[in-house]
Subunit: 306 residues, 6 copies
């Protein structure tokens, strides 16, 4: 990259390394075109930059010792605040292993279901929470390991679950569609704060409270702010979120006690298993067994000959 | 019922009581028109008649002491060997609590799926076993208690499971449709011999071998007779039937180790729970909890207010 | 009770029966002096009166058919809104089996600990929640069965637990006193809404959400309203409340992960066991075994000879 | 080994290595006299040769480039099809770690019990299955690890179990001797197809069906072919084979429900533990503990001082 | 029974009732000849007499009011202190359901094994403990319910276990015969003090210490008194007694860690199951299932058709 | 160290190495002043010296080849038999990681409680056992790993537990103080023989009998020697010691069945957890999680920010 003194450059890149010592402080980022660029930081800018994340960096070219030009960071923004959905969707495939479907398609799919929620209370609450977390939602893995552990995994998993709802309601028509749409969209949303999206570490709040209760607190808070705190819908929604791990020993403080809560658990479990199984079978020869699969009770599965 | 001496009567009725002593032996049957008719039996006819079953009785009117006319059994046939599917479908609703869908519709539904099996090996084996048990299949409950414990429950449960297969294959296209159709139709077929259809008692073979292994033996035998014993299809089918209780402690000697086997377990479990839940919720007021439901972990479920 | 026409009477009594039919609607209450008094109700007053609760009834003496005078309800208030703490403390002993210590003494004890909380955040949050529920807190049992199942049990149990904290801190001085005081006072507060105080039934919210999460929601809400939502203290407090059942299979969505959370679980467990044991041993002869005690693993305990 | 051109050689040897590439294909075998001999193969002979197995190779000496003589395989037979029992018994000790008793003695022992079965149905079925697998039965280990994991282990384990039957019948005379002999001889026979005898890997059928059900299928098939399928004896035999792991979580689809089935489980368990214990104690000094023993609950055992 | 004044009568009888009030105190006993005899007691003799036990009563015929003669107790002895083994053996069959073998034969059997112990330490300890409890040993049931719950059950169970030892040693010759004889004879001896022999109630010591530790204390005490406390034999014996319930959750503080300890557990388990099974099958028709059997995992067992 | 020929030296040191071969036999010890001294041994003195222990060595300076002076061992005594409590207390800190409180203070603390036992039976038994083991008691770790695994850990753990008793009795006054003091002092005393104090290996008796039963045997023996074997106190004491692991699967043959036994389990559990937690938290930064802690269910704990 050729630099001109005192010119401002806008660079979109993924943080590759952060380097600091007594007398230096900089980051190296890689761009879409695979250029590696070093940007100098002030020490108090250090904590704004996280390994593995993509930012738009605004930097000034300044002269260093011996006439060398270097870039000096002015400001930075998370890339999801800068690009359109379409642009972002294309960008992530350059930098990450992304979910099997492009980000824009996952987004379109999820918002279709979101807009099909007819019940006003459920619609308003779900939309308000969705909009707050919308950007991070499509950049987050569903887990640190086990299943959907790639960027976008959280939203991809959510979309697949949504696709299973209608067939079930056709067979068991007593189930409430709006509750299932709303709870499915929200059920894992707090994983955004439970698991640090970049390095996949659990956060302090994630370990001490957990995404089930964190999301219930979130729903409760939004419901109160909208004046819906005493509605049947909110109670049902909170129960579904709390109970969607299905069993006390999986961390749900209550077991599912409504049909919708029970189904949410089932489609969550099913998708976490069958998506992994599909991915592993793809890498397995016909007539052979897979390696042990953690999320499938540590069993090896057989891929039949066609 | 007015009787004429020496006339032969054909009576279709359900056995209400069987009475025998040192000097008497007879059965009382109830007809579709709610008439209660007593038919005398020879002692060696006693074991042909089972409480609660429907037969076509052929009987002769003969004179008893003091000029009274009585009916004397000539022969009898299970009613399913005498009536057309349509007639039988109508008849069972007179005598039993039947599944929520008429027998003819269940039958039509199941046979539609049966005919959609394209793989020749799976198609031939499934059809041969189906045809052997066809009549009893639609008269049998799925269980002695817990779920689908009404006449026709076995076939109704099978049909609902079949309806869930296509949606899953749409989301997880690596799954084999023919295997799923075949194994679903066959998975509980041996309950016909495991549980005595009328009084719901387990048979000796049911207790000592169980329907999972009984059905595997059946598939193995038919496969051998058709020359298919060493095919991949037969191995997959036997594995699915053996493993469809999902866990060793539920009586499967092997856990599911193919995607199809895993899905069979899931849709079997799901239907056994959601069908019961739907039935219980129908009898529960909105805003109330149900009674404890055995098949749902002995939990009470809540019916939300609309 | 002698009545004068058109006079207003103020009666404090416990509801003994509620009677209503097409043409009548009344309640019979019993007073401290064991007088049984019938009060006529309008149909729309029916839902204000709960079996077993104590109210101050304001009623007018009116003439019924044939010159008989009857009392007609004007209005009513829960007795805890009318009497002083001292008066209430004396009254409950007339009407209920109360905890082994008088209500005023339990109250004085608990407020002593409440006032010893030095940390401002913990002090403000705990006091605000305490004051909201103060009245019902001293009238509530701790459970529907098992332990402390008498009126006042909730506050009595809380006080005993508070008394165990200081000795533990003396031996393990790294533990935080303020967190332990605050969390102990709050840990079971939501039982007031989880269990209906009079008939001891679980409420809908109690069954679907449970007092652990209900209380966490409450702390979260109050903390937000006071601007403390992101403090270490609030996170610690929420974690302690969520985890105080100690194990996932006892309904805590997270296990204790701080020393204070672990101790809260221990002293809660210990008090629930040793208080019951003390009560049962009192009714057991020396040299004999007690009956099976539910809360003590269904064991029988031995009372040694002195 | 000196070779003469165009002469045919018969060599009995154990396959040491199989080597193939674009332009070569051969195997090296080792003989009883510890001679290592290379034999050239056609590519289509490759799959007939298994590592570690002993064959009689018939090979022709032919001229290769530069006047070198090499052996060219004509045909081969498993050695058990060529040698007498006595010869085979001697041979295996040269090539394998064999069970503690010579093969001929194990064989004589087992056939003595086989011939003591008086019940005609049990005798015919057991003999027919035994004869089908006779050769491999004495060459097979009982397991891939844990217990009796040496060549001949399967038959040695079977013989020891047979020796325990009579003493039990003496103490509990209601037990059926013929059922116990027959089921003991057959109970693990299908391990021959469950575990590949040479490398100790589980086969596909072994993993998906398992030796309990495989052996039940075998008994069922033979019983049908002999016209015995509806006899009490066959039902008892199938139940014993299915249930001989004793518990659902050990892979038996049914728990033992006859005295004979229960005893079969006990003597199978006992022999698997006490034989291993004896072998490990032999390598342990008096007054010392053994290493952890897998098959004994991972416990260390103590060898007392004499 | 005709009485002569002032004559002394010796009566052997089983206590049928004990009656006492302000002004009366007597017992009614039944004799071998089915005579019911009332004997007057002093109040301080009351505690010497236990319901259901057999004594030799020495009584004096004295005159009561109105010339009636009554018997007045002089003294009494447990019948086992008065009769020879042969006489006692015959007597118990008149009064109790006794074990399936006569008492004298059980005694002869057990003493044969006792005398076969060659190791001096084990022989002396076992004999000393045996002689202390000899009399009660043959009068005691093995349990209050479940298995061997008849008079003599304890010794009968011990004898059957002894019979199984030699066959096992023949197959697994590394096991120590003397240890197995000694530990088998002693393993349940303390049930005499754990369970009150007459009414089958657990004693205080039985509940708080248990027969495993009680017997270990007994062996330890006798070993110390004989100067054997530091021998290998005594350590092995104590370990076997402590561990003979096999698993911690069955009340053994240590699991078996010697071959002899492991076998003791197995033969104890086996005999407790197979003896009950034999008894229950005797009362079951061929081709039928038994009732649920507690000691057999609450399973129903099948009795095959011959 | 300067040696003079034929002079006797008294050296207190900890054994650092023991060296022996065909022609040499000696030990190197390190003194308080960090001097390393080699002392020659006769071969028959070899087994008197244990690695890691501290002794007073009495040695004679003798001439070796070439005029070199060496020390030749005359005799040795465990240092605890030579020094006063005060001297020993100071010495152990030179050689070992000792408990957080000086030995003399632990000793003073424990003896204070020992002297507060008023009941004569409990006092005499506890004192007699204490005095027998007094010296080793203060030199022993409480465990080979997990908790209190440093020298003096056993007595330190005992003292902390004693400190918790009085507060509990204040809250639950029905508990017996003397029983709690006595059982707490004795409960782990047999760890001295269960675990070899120096290398932390389990002894043969420890593995086969365990400290719970070993200590019960000890109490039983001392009680018998004092004529107290049939007292209520001794039964209570034995029950408390046996049951102090609380659950069968933790190795207690009986669960706690008295209030005192239950409390002993609780304070033992609590101290084993909270002491470790305190130690680990000391090494953890605020705002961080600890490593996994074995004794705390393998959980990581959080250290809050102040």
């Amino acid at each position: 990259m050729d630099l001109n003194e005192n010119k401002i450059y806008k660079i979109i890149g993924k943080v590759e390394s952060i380097n600091s010592g007594a007398h230096f402080c900089n980051t190296t980022v890689v761009t879409k075109d695979n250029e590696h660029i070093n940007i100098k930081l002030d020490f108090d800018q250090l904590s704004d930059v996280m390994m593995g994340k993509i930012y738009e960096f605004t930097a000034l070219a300044v002269v260093k010792l011996e006439d060398e030009l270097v870039l000096k960071l002015k400001s930075l923004k998370p890339v999801e605040d800068v690009l359109s959905a379409q642009e972002l969707s294309e960008l992530v495939n350059h930098f990450y292993v992304y979910a099997p479907i492009p980000m824009v398609d996952i987004k379109k799919g999820i918002e279709t279901f979101l807009n099909k929620i007819e019940n006003e209370i459920l619609s308003k609450i779900t939309k308000q929470i969705y909009q707050t977390h919308e950007k991070q939602f499509y950049m987050h893995p569903a887990a640190t390991k086990f299943h959907h552990a790639y960027v976008g995994g959280l939203s991809y998993h959510t979309l697949t679950m949504l696709k299973l709802i209608d067939p079930f309601i056709e067979v068991y028509p007593y189930l409430n569609r709006d509750l299932l749409y709303a709870a499915t969209i929200l059920h894992d949303m707090s994983k955004i704060s439970e698991i640090s999206g970049v390095d996949g570490e659990y956060t302090k709040e994630g370990l001490l409270i957990g995404h089930l209760v964190m999301q219930t607190l979130d729903v409760d808070h939004v419901a109160k702010s909208l004046g819906y705190e005493n509605t049947e819908e909110v109670l049902m929604l909170k129960h579904m979120i709390l109970s969607h791990h299905g069993q006390l020993h999986f961390g749900s403080p209550k077991k599912p006690q409504t049909g919708e809560a029970l189904l949410l658990w089932f489609i969550d479990t099913i998708d976490s298993k069958f998506t992994v199984l599909g991915e592993v079978l793809e890498d397995t020869a016909e007539g052979q067994f897979t390696q042990m699969i953690s999320v499938l009770d540590k069993m090896r599965f057989y891929k039949p000959k066609k």
